[in-house]
């Protein structure tokens, strides 16, 4: 303690702000308010809980041993290069010093993975950390280079959390379930102490891994549809992803029907119909008067009354804005069961549009279904097909690859929710639950249960191309509208719209998350 570490004294004023911040975290147990802080140490400026005293003393003894054994040169450079967050929290400071000093001298990227079962004893954890060298996704680059040692130490608990998660996933991949079980418990405890988006994502992934290990497959039939509706509505309200999807698709539709006297839209996933009011309003204000608008919504058979009611509400809105409106509902358990004759198309008087917002990827769960669905779509001869999907590859064959991709993807998503301070806390929690259900499905489910089979835009392009569709450029107006919409959301310029070969992507901090594209029938198939 008396070893002069220059930064310690400088950063003491950080301590109260960290404690306040800890109190602000909702539902988080980072700073346990019940344990009393030792008064004598508090007078010196260190916050140590009375219950932790023995533990801290033990760690300081170890630290003393390690520092006295080390070569003076290497430990000095280590001490001078690093910055510790909140060194007044003695417990974690000692911990990071210990694990840092025992970890890095053994750094060897080529060492083979040697996983020993990790118990809760911190000492063995440190030494096993030093032997562990796991193949990581994007994070391993920062860990393996010596020059970024100091950067890594700052995010040290986050890195350990990620390492544990990936180790657990690897264990699951290798069917080593006892090791996976131990690791998942470790992840759980690490995640609970990690504040912010990382901790929340890790908690969901840990739960999903646990379900996979114990083979508890979440059955999609057990979902309460009104809760599902609440979650989706909340996600629509609190984040820009669904709004971006709807507004961009609407813009593409508007550009395709400028001259039409009648518009017929087939929505492959009606849900709450949040996309259509804005389109109807835009159609109502079209120079030259509104066209007639017919909507065919596709939904699940369990929600038949809900869909009818929705149609009624949309009709009320249409009457208010002065657009001639007609509504049809089609209920089907699976999209691939749709047949061309279910849709009454009137090609003479109406321009047909097919719209799918996050509805195509579940079809990939059954082999051969997507081809059948796209063939049906082709058969009705739409003027434009709008497709919005998640921009990620969560449909790989290898579980570990899927896991790493999903971890990266959902970390970005949770991060973006965290940063927009406009959303009240409980709405953010609901959005996280909504995303958490997707995480559960990607990680824990298999076979036909696994419906969150996201694929990247390039993969969808190949599919649409081979099904006989040509891409349609989304145009500058769509880009402008999307940029305006995102500028309205908080997040300090974290949200970006990117153009990708005529399609638009919504990205958070340069990581693309949602891709919107439009398609028309290939030239030789039109008429």
């Amino acid at each position: 303690m008396k070893r002069s570490h220059q930064e310690t004294y400088l950063e003491q004023q950080e301590a109260p702000s960290m404690a306040e911040y800890g109190k602000k975290l909702e539902g988080s147990s980072v700073v346990g308010g019940d344990d009393s802080i030792d008064e004598l140490l508090a007078a010196l400026g260190y916050k140590v809980r009375s219950s932790d005293m023995a533990d801290v003393a033990h760690k300081l003894e170890q630290l003393e041993m390690v520092l006295s054994n080390d070569v003076v040169g290497s430990s000095n450079s280590f001490l001078n290069d690093t910055v510790h967050y909140n060194p007044s929290d003695l417990s974690s400071w000692a911990q990071t010093m210990l694990s840092g000093l025992t970890y890095y001298p053994d750094l060897d990227p080529t060492r083979v993975c040697d996983l020993r079962p990790i118990t809760d004893d911190d000492e063995s954890c440190c030494s096993s950390n030093s032997n562990k060298r796991i193949r990581l996704g994007p994070w391993c680059d920062s860990v393996s280079s010596e020059s970024t040692r100091s950067v890594v130490l700052i995010e040290e608990t986050g890195i350990r959390l990620v390492q544990a998660l990936v180790a657990c996933a690897e264990a699951v991949q290798q069917e080593n379930l006892s090791l996976a079980d131990a690791l998942v418990k470790r992840v759980g405890s690490l995640a609970a102490s990690q504040a912010g988006a990382m901790g929340k994502v890790a908690t969901y992934f840990a739960e999903a891994l646990a379900r996979r290990i114990y083979r508890i497959h979440p059955s999609s039939a057990a979902v309460d549809p009104s809760f599902e509706e609440l979650l989706q509505m909340n996600f629509y309200d609190s984040s820009p992803y669904l709004k971006f999807a709807h507004f961009t698709a609407n813009q593409a539709i508007l550009e395709a029907v400028t001259m039409a006297r009648g518009v017929h839209v087939i929505d492959l996933g009606l849900n709450q119909g949040m996309q259509w009011p804005a389109l109807m309003q835009a159609l109502a204000l079209r120079p030259g008067g509104p066209p007639s608008f017919r909507l065919t919504g596709v939904g699940a058979p369990s929600n038949r009354e809900g869909i009818q009611e929705l149609g009624w509400k949309l009709a009320q809105l249409a009457q208010a804005v002065g657009v001639e409106f007609e509504f049809n509902a089609i209920t089907t358990e699976r999209l691939s069961d749709l047949e061309q004759d279910m849709f009454e198309t009137r090609p003479a008087s109406e321009t047909l549009v097919v719209n799918s917002v996050f509805e195509l990827h579940p079809v990939l769960a059954q082999p051969g279904s997507i081809e059948k669905l796209l063939a049906t779509v082709k058969a009705v001869k739409p003027s434009i097909v709008t497709v919005v999907e998640q921009e990620a590859n969560h449909n790989g064959v290898v579980f570990l690859d899927r896991f790493n991709e999903a971890l990266h993807y959902y970390s970005s998503l949770f991060d973006s929710l965290e940063d927009s301070a406009v959303i009240p806390g409980q709405d953010r929690v609901l959005s996280e639950v909504y995303l958490g259900r997707q995480i559960l499905n990607v990680v824990a489910a298999e076979g036909t249960d696994r419906v969150e089979r996201h694929e990247t835009l390039d993969q969808w392009r190949r599919r649409m191309g081979s099904a006989g569709f040509d891409p349609v450029n989304l145009g500058y107006d769509a880009f402008k509208q999307a940029s305006l919409l995102l500028a309205l959301f908080g997040g300090g310029d974290g949200y970006r719209v990117e153009e990708n070969d005529g399609s638009l992507m919504l990205a958070w901090q340069t990581k693309p998350l949602v891709a919107a594209s439009a398609w028309k029938l290939a030239a030789e198939l039109r008429r």
Partner: protein
């Protein structure tokens, strides 16, 4: 308050005396159409202050045409008449201004107010109307609002 004019009157005993004489009254509150025309030319914050003066002014300020003028102050060319019917069906210009346009202007102060922002605001307004219509029957908590993201951030401790 009628204005009193100080006049000078010759009295019988040849002394001049100051007497107050009544002028015909003019009060803006008696001429609502003139008041309307004046309020129509105000900008947002001034209009809101004016609406707080008294009950009469508050009632006059509820006239939607004033808010229509405000919404389209910087947009040219003037939007079509069909827009008026659409907007009044969705709840009127006053609500449009408070719910959408004012927060959008606050968030994007540097941007020129063009048709694009107006179109976006209208779309958001329409979604809001629909959401209220659709979830109007929900019991329990306050219904969700798609315009939640436009509200000022609240410091939640």
């Amino acid at each position: 308050m009628s204005e009193k004019r100080i006049g000078i009157v010759e009295k019988s005993n040849n002394k001049r005396q100051r007497v107050t004489q009544d002028r015909p009254e003019f009060s803006i509150n008696d001429h609502h159409d003139v008041l309307l025309e004046i309020l129509r030319r105000l900008d947002g914050p001034s209009l809101c202050s004016a609406a707080c003066v008294c009950r009469l002014w508050s009632a006059v300020a509820r006239n939607d045409s004033i808010w229509e003028e405000l919404c389209f102050q910087q947009v040219s060319p003037r939007p079509s008449l069909s827009l008026r019917s659409v907007v009044s069906a969705l709840g009127g210009y006053r609500c449009l201004y408070f719910l959408c346009i004012r927060p959008v202007l606050a968030r994007l102060p540097k941007l020129l107010w063009t048709r694009d922002q107006l179109q976006l605001s209208l779309s958001l307004y329409c979604v809001h109307y629909y959401e209220r219509l659709y979830v109007g029957a929900w019991i329990g908590d306050a219904p969700p609002s798609s315009l939640m993201f436009l509200r000022k951030p609240v410091n939640v401790v």
